[in-house]
């Protein structure tokens, strides 16, 4: 269970996240929605302790995010996922596997398993400097899937992916949902969110405008996009 309790993050006088509180239950597929600069990525970075909240507390399964153990079963893919250019996709994944405690043949088997899932078995031995944006994103997704994570944090995971890649990600997420993995998806592609997530929160200027199940947020004859635009426009006015 992930709990954000009155979390505020300020950069100087600017509040990127302003007194946000919500809970994500185990096994929930949760989407963070909002326009650029709404504070979505800031929340993700706080979940991983890349930045500290100015006030409030975040816990993952009862542990504060400042404890590295809170990240023990987390898979994370960043928006514009970067892989050190001197490493091949295979070496990169092997490092991740090693950091989650796998070694020797176990690590190699696990890496091969995720390479198959993200369809990167061909070019896995090439240096990542030769990879396209989409290939880097696939390897990043592979890293997030290593070691059967209990929580997946996906920050714009489909950036740079072609339609087949997007479909693959959707299938992977559906599969993970079936396995009871908690997913936090940060995405601009609302049609994808509607297909893959069960709950969502709309953020605007660091504040949560609404958090509910997607079926409750989206009324008859509306799409998630319609609801999103309506909420943002209301706030503008």
């Amino acid at each position: 269970m992930i709990i954000l309790d009155s979390v505020t993050k300020k950069f100087g006088a600017f509040a990127a996240v302003d007194n946000v509180s919500y809970t994500i239950r185990k096994g929930e597929s949760f989407a963070l929605l909002g326009p650029n600069g709404a504070g979505k990525t800031t929340i993700v970075r706080m979940l991983l302790d890349f930045i500290k909240p100015s006030s409030g507390a975040i816990t993952i399964n009862g542990r504060s995010t400042s404890e590295p153990e809170s990240r023990q079963h987390i898979g994370y893919i960043a928006e514009q996922h970067m892989i050190p250019p001197f490493l091949s996709g295979f070496e990169y994944l092997l490092r991740h596997a090693s950091l989650i405690g796998l070694s020797g043949q176990d690590a190699v088997k696990e890496v091969d398993r995720v390479l198959e899932i993200v369809a990167m078995q061909g070019p896995q031995r090439k240096k990542s400097a030769t990879y396209s944006r989409g290939m880097q994103q696939r390897i990043g997704l592979g890293a997030a899937l290593l070691g059967q994570p209990r929580l997946l944090i996906l920050d714009e995971p489909i950036t740079g992916l072609d339609p087949i890649g997007i479909r693959d990600v959707r299938k992977i997420l559906e599969n993970l949902r079936g396995q009871g993995v908690t997913v936090i998806l940060n995405s601009h592609l609302l049609s994808e969110v509607e297909k893959t997530c069960e709950t969502a929160a709309i953020l605007y200027k660091g504040k949560i405008l609404i958090k509910d199940t997607i079926t409750a947020i989206v009324k008859d004859h509306e799409t998630l996009e319609d609801v999103f635009v309506r909420f943002i426009e209301q706030e503008h006015e």
């Binding site: 990240r71 994370y76 960043a78 996922h81 050190p84």
Partner: protein, 269 residues
């Protein structure tokens, strides 16, 4: 395996992937081998022939310090980009998105770089040691011990550059550290000259009066070189103040590491 050791090994491997590492090592060894001709020359001082072993011994001491000085430069260049490069290529996210403490990451990077530079310097000193042995049959005892002692200097430089690079541009952090070394070189070098046998015999009152406090507590990088020199020469070591340079530098390294870890812990990734 401990995360610090794991990250140290990755650091070593990543640095050794670069062809430039081997080119630099090869060129450095070639440069050292070029000096072996010095041992064959017939040198006369005041009309007397100087034994090749004596020449080799003196040349080796000079080369010992030249290697150390070159290593300071190389270490600075290697260390200044550790954090900024990791930030740019995603390495820092790789480590810190997993259950790795920030201090483990910093310590792993620093010890990995130190181990690499230590081995690099040791190979060069070993080359000198073996060359002298093969050419003159003389074993310069203490030469390799002195090399290992001087590796503490490398750790100090790495810690300094890494720390400064957290809040200064990379090149400036290396330049700033070189400045610290230069001030120490002037201060400690002056002290060594004043206390040398030649100056003492020429001007007996030259060493009267203790050095200023700041000079006593200043990082003793050059003094450690002088200590290593004394080990090779088997001569007296004139220390400045009550603290041995090894203790002085160990304290500085500890202090810098604590400050660096504290600062990095609050840093936004």
């Amino acid at each position: 395996m401990n995360n610090v050791i794991r990250i140290s090994i990755y650091t070593l491997r990543d640095q050794m992937r670069h062809k430039s590492f081997y080119v630099l090592l090869g060129l450095s060894i070639l440069f050292i081998l070029t000096i072996r001709g010095c041992y064959d020359g017939g040198y006369t001082v005041n009309g007397k022939m100087v034994e090749p072993a004596t020449v080799a011994w003196h040349v080796s001491k000079i080369v010992f310090h030249l290697i150390a000085a070159g290593m300071f430069l190389m270490v600075s260049m290697l260390s200044m980009k550790i954090f900024s490069r990791d930030h740019q290529d995603g390495s820092v996210v790789l480590f810190l998105s997993r259950s790795v403490f920030r201090w483990q990451y910093v310590l792993g990077r620093v010890t990995g770089t130190w181990a690499l530079c230590l081995v690099f310097m040791f190979i060069l000193h070993l080359t000198v040691f073996l060359t002298v042995w093969v050419k003159t049959g003389t074993i310069i005892s203490g030469y390799l011990t002195a090399s290992l002692i001087c590796s503490i200097n490398l750790l100090f430089v790495i810690a300094c550059v890494c720390f400064f690079s957290l809040f200064m541009p990379d090149f400036i952090s290396a330049f700033f550290t070189m400045g610290i070394l230069f001030v120490g070189f002037i201060s400690d070098g002056g002290y060594q000259i004043i206390n040398s046998d030649i100056v003492r015999s020429a001007v007996p009152s030259s060493a009267d009066g203790g050095p200023a406090m700041w000079r006593v507590v200043y990082p003793k990088v050059f003094m450690l070189q002088a200590y290593a020199d004394a080990i090779i020469s088997k001569s007296d070591f004139h220390n400045m103040g009550p603290f041995h340079p090894l203790l002085n530098l160990s304290l500085y390294i500890f202090l810098i590491m604590v400050l660096m870890l504290g600062y990095f812990n609050r840093k936004e990734i």
